[in-house]
């Protein structure tokens, strides 16, 4: 995109169930292993087979912040995919298409490469299943990558199915590779040389980073119910958490999942569940129980598009209100939002820490675009997040009756675990006094609510600002962006683009949204000329929240399309706001 540096976008579109996603993942991993930075986005229909799948990978020799705005190389594997996406291909870009499935198109402004992918797979290789590997070979050759990059990933992908399958796929890979080498005269060296392959970078997606981060954070109990796009968290944990002595349970529904988590946490284990909006809705009652009975729990909501069934496979930031306010009466909870794949690995450890230390529910708002974003990240620093432990009573110095809910300055009271001698108590959702006895007096309710909410205050005063990231210099900036969650990379890229057009922007991202670090947000807002709040939902939930919690009157830019925000559109909005 810029200068002679490597930076381009490949988009794949094809029939769901035909291996487009695995083609995308193989291509991405192959390029990442050559040393390039990658950043992907995928969207697919909710049906297992049928409909069009889209997989986009941006490839560069420098760190990437978004999946890009324009498509440089478009690979169309079915006709519907062709029609839906051809307008995104930039002038001068390249179209590669499966000539068995897509009718011939004349595109004077583009380089066009028809490949009979199905015919090659069926006639030359003898297996129509190898179609996506034929395509992989063709794309790698077109981009100028060595064939070995494809062999490596094909071997890894098909090893489990036996040597014969590996060989078939090698043939397919070479057939696609050679086809392009022979017949195409518009080859272009998309891939400039990379200086060196950095072994300290990983190629990983948001859900995988979350699962591994949770294990690093001491997770010992997970219960969940399958729901797109959160299911892969449970699938990632199931084979590995038991190695660490932990338990993974598939519950009968989301209510049971959180019930099991609260039971396990009450009994002393670091516990978590993950779901998406509809499942999160079912958990709301027990989130209050966790707050009231003061039981640590982490609830991950991988937000998806639309309300009700909505757009299960698409992205949104539409659950903020539910996370902040989804509750009967009032009960303290912490709401956190990771801003990138790398951040997810660390922030989930903090989420577990905060839940344990403050004995309350922590809601962790990821989303589909972040969960399925596969990208290169620096190898994580496993020592970065120190472990916080739950405060237990001292078994050797018990004075009188054990006060499970002792009123303290911080609001945190020592929590006994079943099995501890002499500390038996009943954890309860009913309003209770310090000794956990049901108590209905007005004075007690005031005191207990005060105690529980003081935990949020303590967290905010002592740690809130550590979880705020500021990009750029807010002093006198034309536009100050306050954002949350997965949009961070896109916003940073949009800021750079605006800068090139003479508009200076800065951005602030709080990773703890409740309690909101109001002081630092107001300070940031006071330094900039105008405040803009971009978010991927329809009503501007975060902007409304900021208005209610601070003295700021931000300009809301809320777009709910099922897709992540686009750097170009955000840049345009920054310019518009700057020139208001």
């Amino acid at each position: 995109m810029e200068g002679s540096r490597t930076d381009f976008v490949v988009r794949l579109a094809g029939e769901s169930g035909e291996g487009v996603l695995s083609l995308g993942e193989m291509l991405t991993t192959a390029l990442a292993r050559l040393g390039y930075e990658v950043y992907t986005f995928r969207t697919y229909p909710a049906e297992i087979k049928g409909g069009t799948v889209l997989y986009q990978v941006r490839v560069a020799d420098h760190v990437l912040l978004s999946y890009g705005s324009h498509v440089d190389v478009f690979v169309a594997l079915n006709e519907e995919g062709y029609h839906d996406n051809i307008s995104s291909l930039r002038p001068g870009g390249t179209l590669i298409y499966d000539s068995d499935n897509v009718p011939t198109h004349e595109l004077p402004d583009h380089c066009v490469i028809p490949i009979p992918i199905g015919t090659i797979a069926k006639r030359d290789i003898g297996s129509v299943l190898t179609k996506n590997v034929v395509a992989l070979g063709a794309i790698l050759r077109y981009l100028g990558a060595p064939v070995e990059a494809g062999e490596h990933i094909a071997e890894q992908t098909f090893k489990r199915k036996g040597e014969e399958v590996v060989q078939k796929n090698f043939q397919a890979l070479h057939a696609g590779y050679n086809y392009v080498a022979q017949y195409v005269d518009c080859l272009k060296p998309w891939l400039g040389g990379v200086e060196r392959v950095n072994p300290d970078r990983l190629i990983i997606n948001g859900n995988e980073a979350l699962a591994l981060g949770a294990i690093q954070g001491g997770l010992m109990f997970y219960a969940g119910y399958p729901i797109t796009p959160a299911t892969d968290i449970m699938e990632a944990l199931a084979p590995i958490l038991p190695r660490f002595g932990g338990v993974v349970m598939q519950a009968e529904d989301e209510i049971a999942a959180l019930g099991m988590v609260l039971g396990a946490s009450y009994a002393g284990k670091r516990a978590m569940t993950a779901t998406s909006g509809p499942g999160f809705s079912l958990m709301v009652e027990q989130i209050n129980l966790a707050a009231q009975a003061e039981i640590p729990a982490v609830i991950v909501d991988v937000q998806r598009g639309g309300a009700s069934t909505g757009l299960p496979t698409k992205s949104s930031q539409g659950d903020l209100n539910l996370a902040l306010y989804g509750v009967h009466n009032e009960a303290p909870r912490v709401v956190m939002a990771p801003t990138s794949v790398e951040d997810t690995f660390y922030l989930i450890q903090h989420a577990l820490n905060i839940a344990e230390r403050y004995q309350l529910p922590v809601i962790f708002l990821s989303d589909q675009s972040l969960a399925h974003r596969r990208c290169t990240i620096p190898k994580p620093d496993l020592g970065r997040v120190p472990r916080w432990e739950r405060l237990l009573p001292d078994e050797n110095s018990r004075n009188g009756e054990y006060a499970r809910y002792a009123i303290t300055e911080t609001g945190i009271s020592p929590m006994a675990l079943p099995g501890m001698r002499g500390f038996a108590y009943t954890a309860t959702g009913i309003e209770h006094n310090e000794y956990s006895d049901p108590t209905y007096t007005p004075e007690n309710l005031q005191a207990m609510k005060g105690k529980r909410f003081r935990k949020l205050q303590h967290l905010n005063e002592h740690f809130g600002e550590q979880f705020v990231r500021i990009w750029g210099d807010p002093d006198g900036a034309d536009v100050g962006i306050i954002g949350w969650g997965s949009t961070e990379g896109v916003i940073r890229e949009a800021m750079q683009m605006a800068q090139r057009e003479g508009v200076r922007a800065a951005a602030l991202y709080p990773k703890i949204l409740m309690p909101l670090p109001v002081r630092i947000i107001e300070e940031f807002a006071s330094k900039v000329k105008r405040v803009l709040v971009p978010e991927a939902n329809f009503t501007g939930e975060f902007a409304a929240y900021l208005r209610s919690q601070t003295g700021i009157q931000p300009i809301s830019y809320a777009r709910d399309t099922g897709l992540p925000l686009d750097p170009e559109e955000v840049k345009a909005e920054i310019l518009r706001v700057a020139r208001m």
């Binding site: 109990f221 099991m260 009994a267 009943t426």
Partner: protein, 293 residues
Amino acid sequence: MAEVQTISVETQVIQRQPKDYKSDLEPIWCPGCGDYGVLNALFKAMSQLNLDPDQTVLVSGIGCSSRLPGFVVTYGFHGVHGRVLPVATGIKLANPELTVIGVGGDGDGYSIGMGHFPHAARRNIDITYIVMNNQIYGLTKGQTSPTSTLGFQTKTTPFGSVEGQINPLQLAIVSGATFVARGYSGMPNQLAKIFVEAIQHPGFALVDVYSPCVTFNKVQTYDFFKGRVYEIPETHDPTDKFAALRLAEEEDPFPIGILYRVQHPTLDEQVALLKQKAYTPNPSVEQLLKRYQ
């Protein structure tokens, strides 16, 4: 291992009496409520097993009977309506050493919580589940329940209930529960014996207890049960699933005792085996991250 293991010498075994399990909280139940009989039978059973209160957890939901954990000196978890079984499952899996006993009413267990009941049974989680079945909603002052009889008149069914009943015993048996019994709070000694067997049973043990609501249920009263209950004779083979199902079908008189008892691997045993299967020496996140290089 060359280390010498030191054996803790706790030679003095304390024999706990039923009253030792009673907490300072006085039950909030109406005078004559069947739940007193259940609580006393539970105290007796706990004393007979000499259960360590610090190693025992009582889990409940919402309803009159769900207040029970507060009246016992063990650990307790008084959660939300209908979620006894998931919470109890989480506790047992987190610490299999604990004795976990779920308690609640027919509304909590068989209505709002019914979605969890067959799953707890099929998992055969090693917990005891005591349902105080009064065939009515008591805490909300008299509405129909899933165990109310057809035609039963309540405030929400003034013309008589138009719905059939759930048979929790049969449902438990066909769902995979490995211990299924029925008790009656008017037969406290026998109820204590059932509790002893249920708590000792390795696996999911359901004890459905007829526990009359003296305030709101004017049909299934103590008088009603007089002459309508009988102890299951010793000739019954509790390992015979079909005999158990037939017994569970009987009404008037109602059989009281252990209908079904078999042994299958429990969920906690299976999870322990799974951990062995997954065993890897010195697992580390460092190692796991290599896959992503």
